[in-house]
Structures are given as structure tokens and as C-alpha cells.
Symmetry: none
Subunit: 220 residues, 4 copies
DNA sequence: TATGAATGAGCTTTCATTCAT
DNA sequence: GATGAATGAAAGCTCATTCAT
């Protein structure tokens, strides 16, 4: 029990280290995390980390990439399904929002990584850009297409929102940050928050039969 | 001839230090900021900081509080004006949103402090809570009141959004994070973003004359 | 006695540190020297070294430069005196050799620094070149001039040695290395070694009246 | 088909490791050399080194001994030939000097090992002494004998050089150090350097027919 | 024989903090 | 009030050495 006999597990070690790194980085942030604590949590010693990773920075970057992988895969699959071409636009938007709530709010790992990325954006700009390219960009591009198409077809109200599809993701982002910043001190019902966002957004986007000109309400 | 300068300085020193601290903390984050750099930027030496502040943590906390002060004052004034009691609800919501865009997006200091708070939330939970109590909480309380009242009076569609007034702030928060995370790499037109958010939200909240039951669109 | 009260001596500290560094580097070599030992020997703590020097390399380089200074000054003075223009060439060469024995053999500091430079030449090529430029080069240039002039005037035998003035310094270099490599295990009488070298070199350089052609003995 | 290669390897491994060690130690010095680099250069892994050698120190010591072997053998053969008893003393001295230039200057391995020994003398005093016993000592003893005998027979000028035969090796040592310290930055023509040394030394040692008393030139 | 994952002591370097002046 | 030399507790990283396979 004292010295857990030296075990070799080349296959699993890196993953174990990255899992440990995730917990530590999330808890303390990049700079305040000690690699020794990561090692201890992974059940190895400092030296072992340096056997698998070049330095602290590489541990962080690799961890973000590796733990983002399932999220990226899910998102790619979701975006590839092209359900929007066959489904009612309201239904599609509901699905879309729920998917994002699922991804960046309900999934702790994905949510924490997003927050970590925001918090450490200044130190890891390339990582942030990478994240944009693989996740945010494609998701926004698809939304943009759906919105523009819906407006052209008249199933959506014509609105400047078409140019800011990111607005549809804002609620999920807000909740992500809220939950992680206030931790357990200000709990929120995720499902209700999501449904409220859907209510607001769908009503905001669907045509208003009472109006001749779209955007009538917009000018102040 | 010498004196006046020295005297003036004496009173301004703490403020100069906090200004310098703001720049450094924003650039590097809490842990990676060196008090020596703060001192250099403020034109003093490390020792001087310790004359005015107990330690690094106090410098950070005091900086956040002190530099938040004008924002808090503005917000308090805005919330106290009670214009919502006299003005058309659409106009009020427009003003409200624009005010927040002004505050947490266009005002660099307020915006950066918000981001700092998000990034360092784990290390300074009390500061986050304080921020909630003085800024976020009151703003949300007032919004909640306005929304609930509007729905009761029928000038707003009855909707679960009433219980999540924070949804109205989500767009500004999203833009704040976007700008600070992507820095200058992905510029956004703030005014247009704001107007798009207003369009979405107002249309999402105002009554839909074509429908009997509110929320008809909500169920999936 | 326990904690030698923190004393400030900005003026003397760097010198004390360099003196301590000299002893440690000489004893252990560059790589094997611990800055902590240097600090202890100088009566300060590790941190203090970093207050005055950027890093270990700078400590080494600065030490070599600083402790070479008196030697360089002596050499410059010696070379500037131009006694060779007024003195009998035998007398001059005797002075010259004795001066170098004094410098790189009898003077422990200069001798050790020379050996350090030889030992660490691979890691500090610029330092070696600097040493050449300030010490070796000028000394050889002057010797070359004296030898060439002497041979032209016929007071020295014409010989290929003119092109290799460094041969006159070889004995002192050899003794330097001998003493430092064998430490006290193989003591040598410096003065006798020097006089033997002078005997060999003067007899080797002065004209041989029995010969018509110089260099008669050289061909094998 | 496989076997022969493996078998051959098996016997050559230690030698391959020592060759690799030589290159690394020469390039970086003892302390700065990583056994991992030695292993990589030898085409094996770190563990293998520990199979053949107890530790880093033994690798170094064994390498010096092993790679010195051919040099020692050559020297022993040369010294055993006793050509000095049959050959003209000038011819003998020429041969002697040329042999040493060949050995410690022209032969890169022997030259580097000599320099390594000088550089690391402080850490490996026994190795230095061993080197003295097997190489330097015998060579000097023989020289001493030849010089003393020559002076007694009158074929050499009587001189204090008899007691410092090492002076005859000084030029080769100087050139060895020069070449290794200045690497390729200050090239020297080895053959000419050698011939100049021979010229200086022979003329310095052979009798001067113009003088009654030997050593007349020596007193300053 | 050989491997290479794992260890852990040790080293350089950093920096918040102190304190004599 | 202000300085800045000095401290010392980390923390990142390296590498000789070990050992299960």
C-alpha cells in the first residue's frame, strides 16, 4: 500500500494523466495548477508526466483537444445529419437548441472545457481558434444557412438575426457561464432555461401575421 | 516646486497602482501577473504596493471593486430611473438592452472586469457573489418585475421567459466573451449585433395576435 | 548567529558572488556546480544571485570576465611598454617568458581561469574568442613582430619559429595544465621550469655562429 | 539468417556504446552528457547501457581506458624500440617529436581524450594518474634518459632542460589544446607547427660551438 | 539480453513577501 | 512614505537509475 508497485500501462497512462489534468486545470486554472498535483491525482509521479508530454503547456493543449474529441464528434454527426432539410423549421430549431444545451451545459466536461478556453483565451489563442474552426464555426455556418433559407422561403420572419446566428447560442453560453461561475451557489433548472430560450427564440423568429413589413418592431 | 508634484502623487498612488494592476491582470490573468510588473507600470517599486495593499489578492479584489464603481453607479442610476413605469414597454426593453451593450461590451473596462470575474471565479467566489449582489441581481430583479407586469397587463406575451430574465442579457454577454476571447481576430459590429438582439427579443416577447394560447409554439 | 541579519550591500555583493562562483566552478566545473553552493559560499541565498545575474550562464561569463580583468590590465601594460625596442633581445625574451609564467602559472586565479576556459571551451566559444582577442592575440602579435624583427636584424637565427610565436608560450601553458591537472600530486618547481624553458628557447633562437645556413638542423 | 546479426551485435555492443559515449562526452563534457543521448547514438536504449556498465562514471572511465588502448600500445612500442641507442640524437629527437604530434594532435581520438582528461581532471583524479603511469611517465622517463645521456656524451649542450623533458612535449600539447579549444575557428598547419617546434628544440639543445660554458645565455 | 516505463532526487528559476534604510 | 536588496518557498523540468516484462 505504501509504494504502489510500478506498473506499466503505456496505453492508458496518457489518458489517465489527461483526465487528472482536466480536474486540476478546471479547479485551479492553468497557471495555478501544479503538475505534481496532476501526477498525484493520476497516481503517478511528476517524471511520468514528462515521459508522455513535453511540458505543462502541452499537457493543457492536449487535454483540451483530447477531451473535446467526443464533443466534436457528436457535433459533427449532428451537423451532418441535415435534418433541417426534411423537418419543420420550428422542430429543427428546437432540436438544435436542445442539442447545444445538452452539449455545453449538461455535459460537464464539454462545459468546463468551454469555460477553460474562455478563461485562458489570452494564453492559448491558437487553441481558441482551433476550437472555433472545429466546433463554433461549422455550427454557426449551418445555422446561418438555415436561417437565410427559412427567411427566403417565408417560413421565418425576415430579420437581422440572420446575420447573427450566434444569438441563438447565446442562452446556452450564458447558462454555461452562470453555472460554472456560481457553481452550486445559484442553481438553475437547465431544462426550463432551455425551454424558455426556445420559446423566446421561436417566437422571435417565426412570422408575425399581423404585420405587413417585417422588422416593424425593430426601430427605436 | 517639488512638493506639489509629490503631494499630488501621494493621493493618486493607490489609483495608479490599481490602474496598472487592471492592465496586467487583464493581460495575463491573476496567477501569471507579477506584482513587479504592476509596480513598473505604475511607476513605483514593489515595496510601494505593499505599503498600500496587504498582498496580491487584495490588490486584485480592490482593483475589481474600485474599477467596477463607475459601472455600478451607472447601473444603479439606470435602474432607479423607473422609466419603465412611464414608457412603452418596447421602448423600455430597447433602452435596457442598449444600456447593457453599452456597459458590458462597449465599455472596455467593465467588459474586461466581467471577463476577469468569469475567468477567476473559482479563486474569488466572494467577489463573484458581491458582483452579483450589486449588479446582476438588481438588474435581473427589475427585469423580472417588468416582464411579469407586462405579461399580466397583456402588453407582453405570456411566456416562461418571465422566469429567466437573464435571457435578455445573454446576447450582450455572448458578445462580451466573443470580443475578448477572439480579441481582434474576429471583429463584430457591436451596434448591429445589439439591434439584431433587440429584434429577436422584442419579437419574441410581444404578443402574437394570431394565436389563442400563448406558448403554442413552444411545445415540441 | 542563526540567521545572519539581512544586510544590504549592493556594492560588494556581486563581487562576493563572483568570488564564490570562481571557487565553485574551478572545483566542480560549470555543469556540476550548483548555484545554491555558490550562494552559500557567498553568504547569501539562491534568490540573491538572481537579483544580480540573469542566470547561471551569466554568472559564469561575468565571473570569467571580471576576474580576468586584472590579468588583462597587466598584460596590456606589459605589451604597451615596448621595452623590446630598447633592450637586448635576449633580455626581452627572458622578461617576456617570466611575465607569462607569472601570469598563467604563479597567479592561481589567472591560471585556473585559463584552465576553466579550456575545459568549457565547447560550451562558451564566444568567451574563448573574447579571451583570444583581449589576451592571447595581442601577446602573439607582439611576439611575432619581435621575432621577425630580430631575425631581419640578424640578432636571431632565421627560423620557422617566427611564424609560430605561440611556441614560446607553450612551456607556460604546459606547466599550467600540469599543475592544475595533477594538483598537488606532482609538484613542480615553477622557477626552475621557467628557467629551463628560457634556456631552451634562447639557445634555440639565437644565431649559431658555426653555421652558414640557418635551419640546417631542421631537415630530417 | 537473423541470428548472425544478433550474435555479432551482442559482442560489439559494449564497444558501440563506448564509441557513442566518446562522441557525446567530447561534445558536451561529462556532466552535461545524457546517457540517453549516448544510447540513442549507439542505437540501443538506456537500459542496455546499464546492462553493460554499472553507471555513468564507469561508462566514462571505461571509455577513456578502452579508447586509449591503441594509443598506449603505439607508445609502448615506440618507447620499446630503443632506436635512440642506434640513431643520431638529432634524428631521434625529430622522430620523437613527430611521433607525439602524430599521437596527440593528428589522431583525433587520442587528442580529444587528452583534452577530456584535462577538462575532467578534478572529477577523475585516479584516471589522470593512471594516464600518467601508462603514458606520460614512461615517455618522460625515456626522454630524461636520452637527454641526460646526450649531455654526458657531449652531443647535447648541458642544460637544465635535462630535468624538464616535458618541455619537449609542450608544443604538441599546446597545439592539441589550441585546435580543440578554437575548433575550426583558428586553423593551424600541424606539420609546419611541428617542424617549427623541432627547429626550436634541436637548436636549443645541440651544442653551441662558439661557447665555452654551456648555459651562458641562460642567466638574466 | 534488452527494453522502456516509471521513479524521485536534484537543479534552475521565479516571485510574493519582508524589512533595514 | 518609499525603496529595493534579500529571502525562501515553490514550481517546472531533467536525468541517472531501477525494474517488470
Amino acid at each position: 500500500m505504501d509504494k504502489p508497485i510500478r506498473t506499466r500501462r503505456k496505453e492508458e497512462r496518457p489518458g489517465e494523466i489527461l483526465d487528472a489534468a482536466f480536474e486540476e486545470f478546471v479547479q485551479k486554472g492553468y497557471a495555478a495548477t501544479r503538475l505534481e498535483d496532476v501526477a498525484a491525482r493520476a497516481g503517478v509521479t511528476k517524471g511520468t508526466i514528462y515521459f508522455y508530454f513535453q511540458n505543462k503547456e502541452r499537457v493543457f493543449v492536449t487535454m483540451v483537444r483530447e477531451l473535446s474529441r467526443p464533443t466534436v464528434a457528436q457535433a459533427e454527426q449532428f451537423l451532418a445529419e441535415k435534418v433541417h432539410e426534411t423537418v419543420d423549421i420550428s422542430d429543427f430549431l428546437r432540436m438544435y437548441l436542445r442539442f447545444f444545451y445538452q452539449t455545453i451545459v449538461a455535459d460537464r466536461r464539454a462545459g468546463e472545457i468551454l469555460r477553460l478556453l474562455i478563461a485562458e483565451a489570452g494564453r492559448f489563442p491558437e487553441l481558441v481558434d482551433e476550437h472555433f474552426q472545429t466546433l463554433v464555426g461549422p455550427a454557426l455556418a449551418m445555422l446561418h444557412e438555415v436561417l437565410a433559407d427559412g427567411m427566403k422561403r417565408g417560413v421565418l420572419r425576415s430579420s437581422p438575426v440572420a446575420e447573427f446566428p450566434v444569438l441563438l447560442l447565446a442562452p446556452a453560453l450564458q447558462l454555461n457561464i452562470w453555472l460554472l461561475a456560481y457553481a452550486n451557489r445559484r442553481p438553475v433548472d437547465i431544462a426550463q432555461h432551455c425551454e424558455a430560450a426556445i420559446d423566446l427564440i421561436l417566437n422571435g423568429l417565426l412570422p408575425r401575421p399581423d404585420e405587413e413589413r417585417s422588422g416593424a418592431l425593430t426601430n427605436g
